[in-house]
Amino acid sequence: MTVRKSLRAWPVLRQLTGGDRLGRGAAAQSPRHRGMAPRTAEAERVAGSVCPYCAVGCAQKVYVRDEQVVQIEGDPDSPISRGRLCPKGSASLQLVTGPQRLDKVRYRAPYATEWTELDLHEAMEMLADRVVDARARGWQDRDGRGNRLNRTTGLAALGGATLDNEENYLLKKLFTAMGAIQIENQARI
């Protein structure tokens, strides 16, 4: 490297002689910086989404590269949020990609002191057996006055305010068809 070239690379000189007098742009950049691009620019696709925390409904843009979510940002097009996200919404990249995410079914047998693993499809089959059994044991045809009840109190469900409308629809429909009435969510609290 010549002396002249290394002098030109000195940020103070660049700041004094170039167009960036405040040293907040080109003057402060290193060659490595110049070769960098934001994660959002390198994304292969962007999905339009909505923040999963409170009910304001801020729009999000979800950036995906190599089948990984690489960034989540507010969508400036939204008339609700105009691109803004609060600390929770801004942390939703961690919510989606962080190591705290469960990846495998965990099973705790009765009286066990530790989790064990269980195949997902096997868990679903076990659960269907238990639902059929609890439904039958909690079944009530009629009340004391002979009125039809047509229901079970053997099983209950809780949750829905963090779920999609389509999911709540299927859950309520399924529980109702099974005769299971104890289905509730955060709206009650």
């Binding site: 909505v50 925390y53 097009d77 079914v105 057996d129 047509n150 079970t152 809780l158």
Partner: protein
Amino acid sequence: MGSNMAEAHPVGFQWVMEAKGRGARVFHVDPRFTRTSAVADTYVPLRAGSDIAFLGGVINYVLENDLAFHEYVAAYTNASFLVREDFADTEDLDGLFSGYDPETATYDRSSWFYEGAEPGVEDEERARSQTEPLQTGAGGAGVGGAGDVPRDPTLQDPRCVYQVLKRHFARYTPEMVERVCGTPRAQFLEVCRGWTANSNRERTTALVYSVGWTQHSVGAQYIRTGAILQLLLGNIGRPGGGVFALRGHASIQGSTDIPTLFNLLPGYLAMPDDSHADLAAWIADQRSDGHKGYGYQVDAHLVSLLKEYFGDAATPENDFGFGWLPRINGDHGTYRTVMDMIDGKVFGYVVMGQNPAVGSAHGKLQRLGLANLEWLVVRDLNEIETATFWKDSPEVETGEIVPERCRTEVFLMPAASHVEKEGTFTQTQRMLQWRTKALEPTGDRRSELWFAYHLGRLVRERLADSTDERDLPMQKLAWDYATEPGPDGPGPWDEPSADDVLRRINGYDLTTGELLSSYLPLKADGSTSAGCWIYTGVYAGGVNQAARRKPHTEQGPYDAEWGWTWPLNRRVLYNRASADPEGRPWSERKKLIWWDAERGEWTGHDVPDFPVRTPPGHVAPEGSTGPDALGGDDAFIMQADGKAWLFAPHGVLDGPLPTHYEPHESPIRNPLYTQQGNPTRVVYGRPDNPSNPAPPERGSEVFPYVLTAARLTEHHTAGGMSRQLPYLAELQPALFVEVSPELARERGLEHLGEAHVVTSRAAVQARVMVTDRMRPLRIDGRTIHQVWLPYHFGHTGLVRGDVVNDLFGVVEDPNVFIQESKVATCDVRPGPRPRGAALTALLEQVRAAAGVTVETGTRIATAIGTPHVEEDS
């Protein structure tokens, strides 16, 4: 009021700040000086649990000074309607309305009806145990003879609603407000003047609340008080007006509209009960004599739902499968169900995206319920307290849960995140927004759509050959949703199509196979289907309207092409009231919709919330019902009489008018009435649900302080989506309790030291934050201290802390079964709390000191004093 919007809904709060920047004045009325107070023009303190007294005071100010918006009130509310002669007010009966039965703690509401109306015989206990008011959420409750109620348009008749209202609130003077709420008179009057001066033809005032209002034993009446005031001032249905409920989960509105709730079917249709022998009986129960408006169309809405549920199997001959629906006949709410778990009546529990071990009131009760199940499914993103109660809950430390003796079989199943599935959330202003899927979930992570669909598929397989009649609805169920290859690859475990589910929610004309664009064509003859009638139109024109994302920079102020708002993409409900009775905007500045006489229809900036061709002066034909019965000024089209209810003749269980009652746990005697608390509140008198005493009971001095809890920006509800994230955990790393400098001196609490908050249920340890954000209030001649904690902490995650909800017991509003977890009483003691057996001993000692028994707090009719305890307690 009842909302810390800047903290809990910060991005929505940008609009409040923008309005402030344009000259709006912002008042914040709250027990604590918060992030919202800090940027408001005026902060006004009040005691937690006294909001009805405060707002009742504002109503009295409006009525005494004749500041109501008279033309609006006369045309669009029931102010002129006459109330029956035998109605008696709380002012006459010392805190009770006419019809009270202390044995059942319910009202016979027949004397609350309008003059001349013939109320049917009501089963009041049934009405209460099924939260009837919530079941009439979309339409108002029925009132007999709605078409021709006697009225006095001059509002002078002593029995007209306006005069009843005036007498009811006459004692809610600024002096009384100061005595009950602790709000200095001058500040209270500043709110009164600001609110009334800004409510007229040219100006409107918006009212914002959150769960600071709902989580009370009189919560529904808090909102009623706000609504009455906004109606008197003409602030409903107009731009810039309204009552805004800010909700706290991404689709909590959606899960109410499409309810995973025990007493509702989609679209606020009442769940059938054991009195409904057939469809005709159910329909008759939803309607009343002369019923006006769209609430009358319940037959079309329910039959269309049954057509979606059972498809071709739903026929006119079999009542469209109505008989297959299960019947409710009592309280099956979440708290009752948890007590039923403890009592061994429930075998299995499926918990999805909710963390009741931390997030529900009386966390210990929740965890003991979980520990007495046969099996539990927890579906979540992370390992939450509800899934790990058997190994690390506080009860393991006290020995009340022993892992080796806890039989509950637990399935902890990973859920797909919001970017790994597609579907709609409904946000707090009724707007559905579609999310596209960014990528497939990996490992065992699956959507709840996948879970519900495949669980249904597997249960149906198991019941396919049954000949038992009870299995018919599962066999006949339309469970034929489109599927596509998902994370399991192509095959039997395909992902159901959320798009197809949304289309079926929207509904079809079954004669043409076309998607419907509006709920208006829905029929009761089985020729239409719709899974949720209020969502019909989300697929208008065969297009997913919820997926629209036209930038706000390219459209007008109502942004009608972003998402879709139910019903029919209306952005302002009851917007007929934005125009005067003649159909002209109240002012140019506040115009929204108006009558276009030339074209003979309503038009404007929003979708008109009125029959589009019914002219302003229209008089409905005699004997008509439903939408045809709406007169030109019946702006409240879901109400059985077309009017907004200042006085609720039906549909509310604890009174036709809001009344100040003290919270279930309060340090003071009610200054207004002998009746101390809500005389119809739901108490569960059981040994595992103790109450702190409240006057006139003895022992309340053991818990001298008012306790309240709320959110932080940096955490979310029970912490399941925030305590595990490094950024958020670092921003708010520990549980703390805010106390005033005066209270810190009184109890020897040190800033940044440890303290523990004690109730008859629990002791919770927190770091002390001594701050003048909490200020002592002068209440009825005494100094009352309040303490505040955030409720997000639990025993798993990167940051941990005691569960604040453990401090609260279970006592509920009778209308909606929401628990009172915004106010209780407590003690605060310096230092860490005792642990293990010493903690159990401390709680036994404080209960003994306060004389707490199973009867404490259950003598809900103060003057009579009959305890309401569970039979085997």
